[in-house]
């Protein structure tokens, strides 16, 4: 230690904001002396750097009062301090800390994605049967309005057509052993589609009826929708969508543009759950048709007719449904006996096909591109 070279600093003791002019002595520790009296002594290995503007060295001590500070502006003293206090930057920001943050963030992301992929569908499968029907019906009421808005159109109620429709649905219901309340309607819309809503509401759009050549085709479609009802797929879908949005939202927090990521991520997951549910509903339809002694193949034919050939499409991660031709293949595989009686007579089929003609030319729905059955 060079005597005479006085090391001056400003000391803030952490009890008040009075700036005390002190001298520093490098003894057993960093001694802080005011007017010749040592007022505090900081062990060298406990002295840490605190934030400060570039030209000032500001120090704190891990074992002193949390806000006690030493401010050193003279370069020689700063040099002496860095020479004595070797742990100035311990615990501060470092490359190691950044890597740790990166590692644990990615680990958290991976576990959240795994949870979304395996945990949520499992939870939905277990939860859906436990929820009372009244809840599902309540949700159905809300969704119904949205659906009506999207597809447009009114409920068709040509008397004879309605009778034929009811007969067909009842047959399918009995064969499928549906034990949940069910409500099926034909709705006027150009969109060739059919859908099942929460609470056992099944809608057949007239556009699909127009494209159908025989009762078995429509029967297959309805059986498929009844499958969704029986499996309570709408409710499961709601639990899944809610769960994944929550998890993915949790993951991305407030990164700007997070909502777009959220949307894409959710679509990917939803589509994947959805394909599984569609396959299950197809299997249900095949089973019902077999019980009625009818072939499920016409359903597959109608599918392909409506969606077009799959030859130049590829199943993408975003497709909510399996490929039509794969589905046709599944339906054609069943070559068991099909000696059951016709589901509807020729007259009934004709009445069903024109069930919507009693309506004044309603507002045509927009051409739907997302096939939803």
């Amino acid at each position: 230690m060079v005597l005479g070279a006085e090391h001056t600093a400003v000391f803030l003791d952490g009890r008040s904001n009075r700036k005390r002019n002190v001298t520093l002595r490098f003894a057993g520790g960093l001694d802080i002396a005011e007017e010749g009296t040592v007022v505090d002594s900081w062990p060298y290995d406990q002295v840490r750097r605190a934030d400060s503007p570039p030209q000032t060295l500001r120090l704190r001590c891990a074992t002193a009062l949390p806000l006690a500070r030493l401010e050193v502006s003279d370069a020689a003293t700063q040099g002496a301090i860095t020479a004595y206090c070797r742990s100035l930057d311990v615990g501060g920001a470092s490359a190691g800390q950044t890597w740790r943050i990166v590692f644990w963030s990615l680990a958290a992301a991976a576990s959240i994605l795994l949870l979304a992929f395996f945990g949520i569908p499992f939870a939905a499968d277990r939860l859906a049967p436990m929820l009372p029907l009244s809840i599902e019906q309540r949700i159905g009421g809300a969704v119904e309005k949205q659906a009506a808005f999207m597809f447009g159109g009114k409920t068709c109620n040509g008397a004879e057509g309605q009778a034929a429709f009811t007969k067909l649905v009842d047959k399918l219901k009995t064969a499928g052993g549906i034990d949940l309340p069910l409500e099926a309607h034909v709705v006027s819309s150009r969109v060739p589609n059919a859908y099942a809503l929460p609470g056992g509401k099944v809608y057949l759009l007239d556009g699909l009826l127009k494209k159908a050549d025989k009762p078995d085709e429509i029967a297959g479609v309805l059986a498929h929708e009844l499958g969704h009802v029986q499996h309570r797929d709408s409710l499961r879908k709601i639990i899944q969508t809610g769960g994944t949005s929550f998890l993915i939202g949790l993951l991305f927090g407030d990164v700007t543009g997070g909502s777009a990521v959220l949307f894409v991520g959710r679509s990917l997951f939803d589509a994947s759950y959805s394909r599984d549910q569609e396959r299950a509903a197809d299997a249900f339809a095949v089973d019902v048709m077999r019980k009625l002694g009818r072939s499920p193949k016409p359903f597959g034919d109608l599918l392909v007719r409506v969606t077009g050939s799959d030859a130049d499409k590829s199943l993408t991660l975003l497709s909510s449904h399996p490929m039509s031709e794969d589905r046709l293949a599944l339906m054609s595989k069943d070559t068991s006996a099909r000696e059951g009686p016709e589901l509807l007579s020729a007259a009934e089929w004709k009445a069903l096909k024109s069930i919507c003609s009693s309506l004044a030319k309603g507002e045509p729905g927009t051409a739907g591109f997302k096939i939803k059955w």
Binding site: R18, A50, D51, R69, I139, V255, K313
Partner: protein
């Protein structure tokens, strides 16, 4: 208006010192902040967003430690880890609330019409609570001359006041907004202290109203032609900064802010310019990606279906998503540089402190509070920087 854009803060002559009057100096280098924000944003991307806690902390540390009153720089003592823990706590509390929200929403469907209103009100109040608590966290991490700022008061009580005042402001189609701002600021400052120096707020709604009413009147019709909007908004903002700063008292220490009406205009336009540039780039990128995706669909299907199929291709989706995220992050960088750092610099450099001697020999008081409020604010997407 152009001559007002280049601001004179680094060429302004040093005024002769007036006894009892101190300027606030900002010594942060723009390049340092830019590097900090770009690095932090890149890490945000890599860590799927989790780095935001450390980025916010680093930004605050930079701004605080480069802001000096009477030659003594402030210090921010918060850490990213505290913010992360606050966020996790908030999550634990919010998760059941979201579940309840979902169930209540179902129930509310039956009553229809005003079903969503009470829930919206609840979340608004909750957001106010979070804002108050987040301010409290930041304040208790703010240290000057070895003594911290701190805050009492209750977030719940603040949330009710905020709710009622905002309701009042809405009922009066905005005319009461200055009084709402003044009242809420009074509540916040009344519960703010630096050591044993008690804070208060002396700005009044009337003085803010007097200064800004004509700007608001100009603002609404100017939305029709858009161009004047940033000018007027920048002027309103500058006026509010002046009014707010000049109203603050900490003990007998007072502040005056001489921020020019035009001081922020250039910054607003720079943000707009960068955003236009970035979104144009994004549009071009989308166009190219779509064109390539569209070409690769060798289908005999309708144009519409071709379009849909192009958007469903995985590489196309990733290219679009990636471009979007990059641009969103870049806009974030621009906003942080111009609207956080540059606004900070211009505002603090325009402030003079009166009677700073009244803040000598202040005794340390107050305790640290957790970052739970910041966590709530983060979860609700209302986090300040």
């Amino acid at each position: 208006m152009n001559e007002t854009v280049s601001l004179p803060f680094d060429v302004s002559p040093v005024p002769p010192p007036i006894p009892g009057v101190n300027r606030i100096a900002f010594s942060g280098r723009r390049a340092d902040f830019r590097r900090l924000v770009i690095r932090g944003t890149a890490l945000e991307l890599v860590t799927v967003g989790f780095y935001r806690f450390w980025l916010a902390t680093d930004m605050r540390r930079h701004l605080w430690s480069n802001t000096a009153v009477d030659g003594d720089a402030a210090e921010y003592t918060g850490t990213g880890k505290e913010l992360l823990i606050g966020f996790l706590f908030a999550l634990a509390i919010l998760a059941p609330i979201y579940l309840a929200y979902f169930l209540v929403g179902l129930e509310a469907e039956r009553i229809k019409a005003f079903a969503s209103l009470p829930l919206g009100v609840f979340f608004f109040l909750f957001a106010q609570f979070a804002i108050y608590r987040a301010r409290r966290y930041r304040l208790t991490r703010t240290v000057w001359r070895g003594v911290r700022f701190w805050m009492t008061g209750s977030g719940i009580s603040y949330a009710w006041r905020a709710g009622l005042w905002v309701l009042f402001a809405i009922v009066t189609i905005g005319f009461a907004a200055p009084w709402a701002k003044a009242a809420l600021e009074r509540y916040k400052m009344r519960h703010t202290a630096y050591g044993d120096l008690q804070g208060r707020f002396e700005g009044t709604g009337w003085s803010l109203f007097k200064q800004t009413w004509w700007m608001w009147l100009l603002l609404w019709p100017s939305f029709l032609i858009l161009i004047p909007v940033p000018f007027i908004l920048a002027a309103i903002r500058a006026t509010e900064w002046r009014w707010w700063t000049s109203g603050i008292r900490i003990g007998d220490v007072g502040f005056t802010c001489k921020l020019n009406d035009s001081a922020l205009i250039g910054l607003y336009w720079k943000v707009i310019g960068w955003s236009v540039l970035l979104f144009t780039g994004l549009g071009a990128w989308f166009g190219v990606v779509f064109a390539i995706g569209y070409q690769s669909v060798s289908a005999s299907v309708s144009e519409e279906q071709k379009f849909i199929m192009a958007t469903q291709k995985l590489p196309v989706l990733f290219a679009l998503g990636f471009g979007y995220i990059l641009v969103a992050l870049a806009v974030g960088v621009v906003i942080r540089i111009y609207l956080t750092r540059d606004v900070w610099q211009r505002v603090v450099e325009s402030i003079t402190v009166q009677n700073l001697a009244a803040a000598d020999n202040v005794k340390a008081q107050g305790h640290l509070v957790s970052a739970l409020g910041e966590g709530f604010a983060d979860s609700l997407d209302i986090a300040g920087f």
